[in-house]
């Protein structure tokens, strides 16, 4: 039911402190991408949204580090990627300063207890991160676009690496899609700690 979906998404966004970003996600329709909305030109709202994506990834890899269920190759990947995600998060925190919103808590303990499941979720999160950065790029101020480009290319390297470990095409297409912030948060929602809302 659409009304339930909207209500629960709104609740989720509020719970994870994304209500501001969700409001900003409102009406701007990007030319040439039907039905696609992007955050407005508020760097802070965009970066706080990207912090949620980075926090989810950082937590996934942190729990992989504590898991006994993963192979050496996957653990090696997680250690490298996890350090990168933490640095991305630190960069966002420093850049936003006093207006930084603490990202929600995620729980990947169950995911990290099974290698096949972990590979699926890691591929999903890396792809979502790329789509999230691509989706907001046009609305960041130009100085931040350059910094974000330096980050999203690393997410692309992670995606290719984990895709290879998962046995799926490392570079599935010539261009990666951009995704609306609301779709990215919806994809992350099942992993929020304390239930799926």
């Amino acid at each position: 039911m659409p009304s339930c979906e909207v209500t629960s998404r709104r609740e989720f966004l509020e719970r994870i402190g994304l209500a501001g970003a969700a409001a900003a996600v409102g009406g701007v329709v990007v030319a040439g991408v039907p039905g696609w909305s992007a955050p407005t030109g508020d760097d802070t709202a965009i970066l706080n949204f990207l912090a949620v994506v980075e926090a989810a990834q950082a937590e996934l890899y942190m729990q992989a580090d504590m898991s006994a269920a993963l192979s050496d190759d996957v653990r090696r990947y997680s250690a490298v990627a996890g350090e990168h995600e933490q640095k991305h998060l630190d960069w966002i925190r420093e850049t936003v300063g006093g207006r930084f919103q603490e990202p929600p808590t995620f729980d990947f303990a169950e995911v990290a207890s099974d290698e096949a499941r972990f590979l699926d979720v890691a591929v999903e999160l890396e792809d979502q991160a790329i789509a999230a950065y691509n989706g907001v790029a046009g609305n960041l101020s130009s100085a931040l676009v350059v910094r974000a480009a330096e980050v999203v290319s690393v997410e692309g390297r992670h995606a290719a690496w984990i895709r290879d470990l998962a046995g799926v095409a490392p570079a599935p297409s010539a261009a990666d899609p951009a995704t609306a912030a609301s779709q990215v948060t919806a994809a992350l929602r099942p992993y929020a700690a304390g239930g799926t809302g």
Binding site: V146, A169, A171, S173, A174, A175
Partner: protein, 157 residues
């Protein structure tokens, strides 16, 4: 294959100067600065690439022309490697997929630039060919089995 065999300079693959000219435009340099002094072109190009983005003076079209030259360079390398046909099965698959992506990027940029898009010059590709051949021949000589065929000049260069 040693690093020396596979190290490629821009001057070798950019014999026409198209790539360096497009870089000169976006890097705020003159063509003469990049092409004038033989032997320093790679260093000059690295210096230009190291400039912060703010220093770049190119407009969208000039930047896209530079990107187009990059895509020509990349797609040319993969096409040539596939044509030579000496890659392992795994490398061939990679070259096929990545090469197709570079071609798609090239087409997008060409469509954005329209009739202003710089043509792909043939001079890029033979040099890749000779470079790849030479690397292969060096490996062959070490095996001492294909030395004779390696001594033959490349018919396409």
């Amino acid at each position: 294959m040693s690093a020396a065999n596979t190290h490629v300079t821009f001057a070798e693959v950019d014999r026409s100067g198209d790539f360096r000219e497009s870089l000169a435009r976006v890097g705020g340099m003159t063509r003469a600065e990049l092409l004038g002094a033989a032997g320093v072109t790679s260093a000059a190009m690295l210096a230009a690439l190291a400039e912060p983005a703010e220093a770049w003076t190119g407009n969208d079209a000039e930047i896209l022309q530079f990107d187009l030259q990059l895509e020509y360079l990349q797609s040319g390398m993969y096409q040539e490697a596939l044509k030579i046909g000496k890659l392992s099965e795994q490398s061939r698959e990679w070259a096929r997929v990545i090469g197709a992506h570079e071609l798609a990027h090239m087409k997008v940029i060409r469509s954005l630039l329209g009739s202003a898009a710089a043509k792909r010059t043939r001079s890029l590709r033979p040099r890749w060919h000779s470079r790849i051949s030479r690397a292969r021949c060096s490996a062959g000589r070490r095996r001492a089995s294909t030395a004779a065929s390696c001594a033959r000049p490349c018919s396409r260069c």
